[in-house]
């Protein structure tokens, strides 16, 4: 094995672009490991762990680029470095060909007459708060995608936003739909009378997609960030947004969607909801609320939430057809099922869909294990090793340290899909596919690579593949094409995540078969 590391000073590039280069170059023959990244503390440690660090690496700053290659032979090593160079420079040729205006800071943009009003921030968390503060100080609303922002910073930003009457979405906000414009990970949905405020990224996406499928639409979709409803942050953005949504003439029905919040915050949110003067649908994923719910409809899953909201908005109760479902793969699997195939393995890109699947299993009395346990007894001894019914959120920090989110780069879960499908006790593979802006251009294509390899290695043995889809007809990936290819490859495709989870639960050992 040969290793080499080079440092290029002052060569900043976004981590997602660099990850793509790493991924691409690591597919070259005889190349074992490739790291192309900024010299952050994390990446320096990664180089160290590859046994390829140098004094230059130790002295490098986060604005310096590190390239490390581990290869089986000299030739492969050289080829890898050439390819990295080609990928890095290609970008430069492209950008210098075009004579376009060039901006480096929010202040410069704030000085323009055009009136920029939304900052979409996905820079590393350690630097994100400062950029957001500058945006807010310059009267620009913020959509903060980054995580690793401290609670203190979050509170300070949200207080500054309140002072200035601005919207501060995030940190760790994956999705929003403001005035019909999707920000971050978001789907193309119809405009309509339903406003959503959510402390859950894929949750907001899934509910808006279901509402679109039901023929209604969205006025505003606001993500508040995963930590907004904690005791420390106290629902600052949620409460401020509910006031604003209450004042929005286009919003007739309001949905509030969150993983179970801190109780005292839930109380405040509920009080605010009751005072909006508009019907409110509240989804806290099965969390019971011992309080007067007058005027507020409580739902326990996202499909029910979408149905309730559309019913309130249109006055008629719609039905959601399971239009892609087919019984054949289920029957074929049942016929071939081995006695040891007892458990469901859910490998998710989206955190909220993972949560919802777990809540569904729990409600049916099935035991579950997860890297993001709902309660302490439901953890995994080793998050890399599935046991019993296992639900893995591949978007959790543990897996994404130094890597893009699996919705951007779904190949990050392929290895886990293959190894879990091959476990002798696996009966069902439960998988999510997120379409829309921000997501990978062909998530099904990436998923099917793993499925093909798993099937080949499984040989005669069968597992049942179940997929839930978050997406709409309008999404750039093409909904029917993505679903068509899943079905051609033997997937059962459910129209909602909770239905996929219910089907999987039915097939798990101890489920209602």
């Amino acid at each position: 094995m040969i290793k080499r590391t080079l440092v290029r000073e002052n060569f900043y590039s976004d981590s997602v672009a660099l990850m793509r280069i790493s991924n691409k170059v690591s597919t070259l023959p005889d190349v074992e490991d490739v790291l192309v990244g900024m010299a952050t503390e994390l990446n320096r440690e990664l180089v160290e762990s590859l046994g390829a660090t140098t004094d230059e690496v130790r002295a490098a700053s986060p604005n310096d680029l590190i390239v490390t290659v581990v290869a089986q032979n000299q030739e492969a090593l050289e080829r890898a470095f050439e390819e990295v160079e080609a990928q890095l420079t290609r970008k430069h040729v492209e950008s210098s060909d075009v004579e376009e205006a060039h901006y480096d800071s929010i202040r410069e943009v704030a000085g323009l007459e055009a009136g920029y009003n939304m900052a979409v921030v996905s820079v590393p968390g350690a630097y994100a708060a400062r950029e957001c503060r500058i945006a807010l100080e310059n009267d620009i609303n913020v959509f903060l995608f980054s995580d690793n922002v401290t609670v203190d910073e979050e509170i300070a930003l949200k207080d500054l936003a309140r002072e200035r009457g601005l919207l501060m979405m995030g940190p760790d906000c994956g999705t929003a739909l403001i005035n019909g414009v999707p920000l971050g990970f978001a789907n193309v949905v119809r405009k309509g009378p339903i406003g959503i405020v959510a402390a859950s990224g894929t949750g907001l996406q899934h509910v808006t997609c279901l509402i679109d499928a039901l023929g209604s639409g969205i006025s505003q979709g606001v993500g508040v960030g995963g930590r907004d409803l904690s005791s420390a942050v106290g629902g600052r953005t949620m409460l401020a947004t509910l006031d604003a949504i209450g004042a929005d003439p286009e919003t007739e029905v309001v949905i509030i969607l969150s993983k179970p919040p801190a109780p005292e915050v839930a109380e405040k949110v509920l009080e605010k909801a009751k005072g909006l003067g508009k019907p409110v649908v509240l989804c806290l994923f099965g969390r019971e609320i011992q309080a007067d719910l007058s005027g507020v409809t409580l739902c326990s899953d996202m499909e029910a939430t979408a149905l309730a909201a559309v019913t309130l908005a249109t006055g008629t109760e719609p039905t959601l057809k399971d239009r892609w479902y087919s019984e054949e793969p289920v029957e074929a699997f049942q016929a071939a099922r081995g006695a040891e195939q007892q458990f469901v393995r859910g490998i998710f890109c989206g955190g909220t869909v993972c949560d919802e699947a777990m809540v569904t299993f729990r409600s049916q009395g099935l035991s579950i294990h997860s890297n993001i346990p709902l309660s302490p007894g439901e953890g995994l001894a080793d998050v890399h090793v599935s046991e019993g019914n296992t639900f893995i959120d591949m978007g959790d920090d543990f897996f994404t340290r130094g890597k893009p989110h699996p919705m951007i780069e779904p190949s990050l879960r392929n290895q886990r899909i293959i190894s879990d499908a091959l476990l002798p006790d696996t009966a069902v593979m439960l998988l999510d596919v997120e379409l829309g802006y921000g997501s990978h251009p062909d998530p099904v294509g990436v998923l099917l690579e793993a499925v093909a390899e798993a099937k080949q290695r499984l040989g005669e043995r069968q597992v049942l593949w179940i997929a839930s889809i978050v997406g709409t007809e309008g999404d750039p990936q093409g909904l029917e094409n993505q679903i068509g290819r899943l079905r051609e490859n033997g997937f059962v495709v459910s129209v909602s995540n909770v239905r996929a989870a219910r089907l999987a639960a039915k097939l798990a050992k101890g489920g209602a078969q």
């Binding site: 976004d14 800071s105 009003n117 921030v121 980054s146 009457g165 401020a240």
Partner: protein
């Protein structure tokens, strides 16, 4: 009110993942993708210092004041006097040099050569060895030109009996000083000290200086700022290219020289000398910049740079709000073109006080006005535009007098703000000559160089500490 956002068209500025920008653009949303990188090289102590200084309204006011004073400057060449008479703090045992303070032990070749040449010129020694012995005996006092309102190109050596230009800034009443330019080739500022050099220095003291002094006595002073401003429109950046400015100066001087009572032969020699040296104006450009920037020194809280200079070993900067303090780092390697016959190994590290022109927004900052210089320092014409445009991002504002035709006559980038340097990671662009590392060989090329980062990072931390 957040509710005001509903119904407004979204116009987005994206920083981080470029896909989010491309998604917005593909939907027809007006969006800008920032070419973002971590501020302050990602160093958290510096970011904290930036936040502190950015939130202090006193700093913003101080910088505005500095820019106003810089723009208000009116610099006139009024006289020529011996250094001992003119320069405050000059003594018979003092030798001034370029850059921040330095000891003999750490001096580079050309500076040592110039020091010894200066001592021979003063009659304190007859050989290099004698001069060195005198220095080592401790009888010579070294001091940076910049600590005496003076500036000198390259080695920047000023000895007591050398004649110096006296430039007055009439808006603040302060004065600055610089030597007279000797020309190219074997000259003291590159460390040469042979007979040819000493003979020329003596002639400059005995003929050139008295003649120019008499000429100046015929005038109310020569407006140096105005000449520099015109020269910018004629292809000079008044650091590395001074052809136009020298010509304009000659136009001013000729009538005065003709009117003054100067023996004809001397008058001919004086005019020939000035006319043969494209860089004659350089020392005036520097003195004028010094007189301008000195007026902005010592404003409390001010983060504007007032000195950029090098002694061939260290680069040093001074900041208005921290008067008298030096922030130094190793002098850089100048990247550019070498004259035929020289190699990289011949280059001395960055040297001279001439970066005072960049401190004022001329030189490398005004490259866009001097496309002709680009080839000399090894680049393409469009590079000149890029360099100048970039410098606006680290300056408080622009000049009200110096303007750049190619940039739609925009004022040159003025008032280097250490906060902006640290925030953007953009270092001031200096356009400079390269000295041979051995004494007395002369200029070996020209090119571009930037100051070391630590000059600015340490100054920023010190200013934040002073303000907290």
């Amino acid at each position: 009110m957040i509710a005001e956002l509903w119904g407004q068209p979204i116009k987005a500025v994206n920083l981080g993942n470029k896909d989010f920008y491309e998604d917005l653009v593909s939907q027809g949303v007006e969006a800008i993708h920032l070419d973002w990188k971590p501020v302050a090289n990602g160093e958290h102590a510096l970011i904290a210092a930036l936040d502190l200084l950015d939130s202090d309204p006193k700093v913003a006011r101080a910088n505005q004041t500095a820019l106003e004073r810089i723009n208000a400057a009116q610099t006139f060449l009024i006289d020529i006097q011996p250094a001992l008479e003119a320069i405050p703090g000059m003594t018979a045992d003092t030798i001034l040099h370029a850059g921040p303070p330095i000891t003999w032990e750490r001096m580079s070749g050309p500076v040592r050569g110039a020091v010894c040449g200066g001592l021979i010129f003063e009659g304190r020694a007859t050989t290099y060895e004698e001069a060195e012995a005198l220095v080592l005996s401790g009888k010579v006092h070294f001091s940076p030109c910049n600590e005496h309102s003076a500036v000198g190109p390259m080695a920047g050596v000023i000895t007591p009996s050398m004649p110096v230009f006296v430039v007055e800034n009439r808006s603040q009443g302060n004065r600055s000083f610089s030597t007279l330019n000797e020309g190219l080739g074997k000259v003291l500022r590159f460390g040469a000290y042979g007979d040819e050099v000493l003979t020329r220095l003596a002639w400059m003291r005995d003929v050139l200086a008295p003649a120019l002094k008499k000429a100046l006595a015929q005038s109310e002073g020569i407006d140096i700022k105005s000449i520099a401003a015109q020269a910018l429109h004629m292809g000079d950046e008044v650091h590395n290219r001074n052809k136009a400015a020298t010509s304009l100066l000659i136009r001013e001087l000729i009538p005065l020289l003709l009117e003054a009572d100067i023996p004809t032969q001397e008058r001919i020699e004086v005019v020939r000398f000035i006319n043969s040296n494209d860089h004659f104006f350089l020392n005036l450009s520097m003195a004028s910049a010094k007189a301008t920037l000195a007026a902005a020194e010592g404003i409390e809280g001010c983060s504007i740079v007032t000195v950029l200079c090098r002694n061939g070993t260290d680069f040093g900067i001074q900041v208005s709000g921290l008067p008298g303090r030096w922030f130094t780092g190793p002098a850089g390697d100048v990247k550019g073109l070498l004259f035929p016959g020289f190699t990289e190994a011949d280059k001395n590290p960055d040297l001279g006080d001439s970066a005072i022109t960049e401190t004022l927004g001329l030189g490398g900052f005004s490259m866009a006005a001097s496309i002709a210089i680009v080839q000399f320092v090894g680049g393409e014409p469009k590079d000149a535009l890029v360099y100048s445009r970039k410098m606006y991002r680290i300056t408080e504002g622009s000049s009200s007098t110096y303007s750049i035709p190619m940039l739609d006559f925009r004022g040159s980038p003025t008032g280097i703000d250490i906060r902006k340097v640290i925030e953007t990671g953009i270092l001031p662009q200096i356009n400079t000559g390269i000295a041979h590392r051995e004494a007395g060989i002369g200029q070996v090329g020209a090119g571009l160089v930037t100051p070391p980062w630590e000059c600015f990072s340490e100054a920023l931390l010190a200013l934040a500490q002073a303000q907290s």
